[in-house]
């Protein structure tokens, strides 16, 4: 058995550079003498294992195809083992290596090794295949084909731990859809996987990973898993969260997070929830990949769950996370993303969290993250800003509206990534609600123009978010701001926004318009610009049987317009009852009968403003409304289920009485 390596002998020739040595080994790979070839293979393998730099340089030399030939041409077990091991190492955590290995057609060669009679050959093949399946570039495994399923189960049934681990790895990385999950469960994969829980460390870890994939978002699969031996395996997984190996703790936590997010009813016990949160928090301190994954796992666990956010807050999560972020060392982008998302979730509903977070001098760090080269990190930082800005106290203290924060945020409005755009719009939407500052840095930075640009984006999410930000910007805004905004949009621009193909965008556009015309009476004039183009469009949209949410905003626009002068009120009547009417197209009646109380309410408000007794034409308008069946309809609604609606109707009816109505 060769023990010495040739690299130490080549050290003695002082003139040879590492490049020469590598070229030398490389040429010996192609030797026809099996002894020489074997030695060269071992050398390459020993040089590249653990050494990313060497992997890259050997890759460039073309080592992978050379080793692939050795693998395919040889019958000698030692050569098979060494070449498989070398190829596996190229594929280990090194995407360029995985690609090279797959391109060289190694995959079927490795599969063949699994049927060898030599255990070492099988091991080498299984390990290397597992490395390939850790990567996203691994071939898609079609579980739906019967022969593939059979092969998969033959792997899972194997006594060899590397082979059964490979089976679990294939599932972990290739199972994505509900259909695949179903097919696997029906074939009995859960029963096979849980056996691995009692096996070796690597089997346990492979099992936990694959369980998480099969159970994710699939309540049926989860219930099947929990039902196995009356919950024994759920207990096992829960036990493993206290295992001595950090990676096992992490993978079992991630498995539980999947189960919790899919079927929370299995976690009624507060103790389990609490220990899950604290275990993940501890794992955040792990320097390796486990720590990266723990951060994302934590954010997924506490997302939208106020009780867990509270638990985490009480377990000192904010301080722990901030400490990690402040260590100053280069954190992996995945970890940064996970940490910022966790902070964002913590700040999503709890004011204590927001205050605690903001008191820790975090803004600089957060602002730096806005400039990170990774788009996911920038997005996460924006979401963090958005949620922290929900703190009215801190917002009005001007924490977010200074140049230091505003400028980088506004710059992100140009970000190439659409997820960043949407996220920063969300943050700005909240920040512009700062009423305490009379002048707005945002507007000074040309924010309005940029938002209007984005309202024309190809991405409907971006359009929607931009309009939401504008809507907030126009809320209780002064005339100067409104004029500035309107001058950039004009009537035609508004018409396009209100007529957007996406209903959610239409809704935001109408809400924006509602805020624009709200307030002083002059604001109402906007809708009359260019011969009442905007008002006509609103009327048109309302006549088209819109969705409730859109209709609500539209009716509030009419309400606000109807709160103005006599001319304004008459214009609204025109929209409600256009002449001539083709068919009985009384959308007001429809709205009054809607299930949405807000829509009923908004419609009633419009009526209140139209017949408010102080205006001269109120009586005639009242007659018209009565004749169209609106007033009678209201009489039927005196006992409306919604208190707000009931009160408004009473107001209308009392106004009605004052006209001497019977």
């Amino acid at each position: 058995m060769p023990t010495s390596s040739s690299s130490s002998s080549s050290f003695s020739s002082a003139a040879s550079s590492s490049g020469n040595r590598q070229a030398d080994v490389f040429s010996r790979l192609a030797s026809s003498d099996p002894e020489v070839k074997l030695k060269a293979l071992r050398e390459v393998k020993n040089q590249i294992i653990g050494n990313r730099t060497k992997k890259l340089s050997f890759l460039k030399l073309g080592a992978v195809p050379a080793i692939a030939s050795a693998l395919s041409d040889s019958e000698c077990n030692s050569i098979l083992v060494q070449s498989a091991a070398a190829l596996g190492s190229f594929a280990c955590g090194f995407e360029a290596g995985v690609q090279a290995v797959l391109d060289a057609g190694v995959f079927p060669l490795l599969l063949r090794l699994l049927t060898s009679s030599d255990e070492k050959v099988v091991d080498a093949g299984a390990r290397s295949l597992r490395m390939i399946f850790q990567s996203n570039q691994a071939p898609k495994y079609d579980f739906l084909q019967e022969k593939n399923m059979k092969f998969l189960f033959s792997l899972l049934n194997s006594e060899n731990e590397n082979v059964s681990g490979l089976g679990a790895s294939i599932i972990a990385h290739a199972c994505g859809t509900t259909v695949q999950q179903q097919v696997l469960c029906d074939a009995g994969v859960l029963e096979k996987l849980v056996i691995l829980l009692d096996g070796s460390l690597s089997q346990r870890e492979a099992c936990l990973e694959s369980l998480a994939t099969v159970l994710k978002n699939n309540p049926e699969a989860v219930s099947r898993f929990v039902g196995l031996e009356a919950g024994r395996y759920l207990s096992s997984v829960t036990e493993l969260t206290k295992d001595r190996y950090p990676r096992t703790r992490l993978l079992s936590c991630l498995c539980l997070v999947v189960i919790y997010n899919t079927s929370p009813s299995y976690f009624l016990n507060m103790g389990t929830k609490s220990s899950l949160v604290t275990t993940l928090l501890e794992l955040l301190n792990d320097h390796g990949q486990s720590g990266d994954d723990a951060a994302l796992g934590l954010s997924s666990l506490i997302a939208e769950k106020e009780d867990l956010q509270k638990l985490a807050y009480e377990a000192n999560a904010i301080k722990n996370i901030v400490d990690i972020l402040k260590t100053g060392s280069e954190l992996h982008p995945k970890r940064l993303q996970g940490l910022f998302l966790s902070l964002a979730e913590l700040c999503s509903k709890l004011e204590d969290c927001r205050c605690s977070f903001l008191s820790l001098e975090m803004l600089d760090l957060l602002v730096n993250a806005l400039r990170h080269k990774n788009a996911d990190v920038r997005t996460a930082a924006c979401i963090c800003f958005r949620n922290a800005a929900r703190s009215v106290k801190n917002l009005s203290a001007g924490r977010f509206t200074n140049d230091h924060v505003m400028l980088p945020l506004v710059q992100l409005l140009h970000d190439p990534s659409s997820s960043v755009e949407v996220a920063v719009l969300g943050a700005l939407s909240n920040i512009v609600l700062d009423f305490s500052s009379p002048k707005s840095t945002f507007i000074e930075y040309g924010g309005i123009k940029q938002l209007i640009e984005l309202s024309k984006s190809m991405d409907p999410n971006a359009r929607c978010s931009a309009l939401r930000a504008l809507r907030n910007l126009m809320f209780l805004a002064d005339n100067k701001r409104k004029e500035l905004f309107y001058s950039e949009v004009k009537a035609q621009g508004f018409v396009s926004l209100i007529s957007d193909p996406e209903p959610t965008v239409q809704e935001q556009a109408l809400a924006l318009l509602r805020n624009l015309v709200d307030g002083c009476i002059n604001s109402i004039e906007f809708v009359f610009d260019e011969d009442g183009l905007i008002l006509d469009t609103v009327g048109k949209q309302l006549r088209k049987s819109p969705q409730a949410h859109m209709a609500i905003q539209g009716m509030y626009v009419l309400t606000n317009v109807a709160s103005g002068t006599e001319l304004h009120k008459e214009a609204v009547m025109q929209q409600l009852f256009p002449q001539p009417q083709a068919e009985s197209n009384n959308f007001m009646l429809k709205f009054l009968q809607s299930h949405e109380s807000q829509l009923r309410s908004a419609t009633v408000w419009t009526i209140i403003n139209l017949i408010s007794p102080s205006s001269p034409g109120a009586h005639d308008r009242h007659v018209k409304l009565r004749d169209e069946g609106i007033i009678p309809q209201l009489k039927n609604m005196v006992n409306d289920a919604c208190l707000d609606v009931k009160i408004r109707i009473r107001t209308v009816l009392s106004q009605s009485m004052s006209f001497g109505d019977n």
Partner: protein, 224 residues
Amino acid sequence: MATSKKVITRDEWEKKLNAVKLRKEDMNTLVMNFLVTEGFFLFPYGETAEIDLATITDRMAVKKAVQNGNVEDAIEKVNDLNPEILDTNPELFFHLQQQRLIELIRQGKTEEALEFAQEELAPRGEENQAFLQELEKTVALLVFEDASNCPVKDLLDISHRLKTASEVNAAILTSQSHEKDSSLNPKLPSLLKMLIWAQNQLDEKAVYPHINDLSTGQLQNPSE
């Protein structure tokens, strides 16, 4: 003193003990398991063991190689045993490379050491910032004329070899670990703890000969 505890005499107790049947194979396995996990090199005790001796001797060979300063040899052996270990343990790999450098310096091969540091260690620092500090410490050895008297001379100490050896041993054990398969967990200490616990429990109910000295296992009369 009147006692409600049952009294068992020396004779009775010894009779009871002799009545317990133990299999010789079980005892052999227990002892071997202890010796092996504690790292004593040994020859197999016949076919009684359930332990996979091949992996144990391989692991011992790696540990020994590092302890003797043959780090390159150790690396090759680890890679033969399981190529994943060094590929997935950057810290361990760095420490092994670091030890290689230390050995070169110890042997006075300064030029080779410099080349090795540049070619093999520096990239580790580039790949992973966490190693930079330790890297700088190690390279500092090259700077001093008399490395054995410099501020970082601890690195040259044999104990550093042992530390590295122990790290690699632990990694191999982890990769081979079979929690339910008892072969790699020492059982002897747990059994002795259980003996002491059982005696404490029985003390509440009976008076009987104790084993007070675990190393001799001598029975001592209750009155003694």
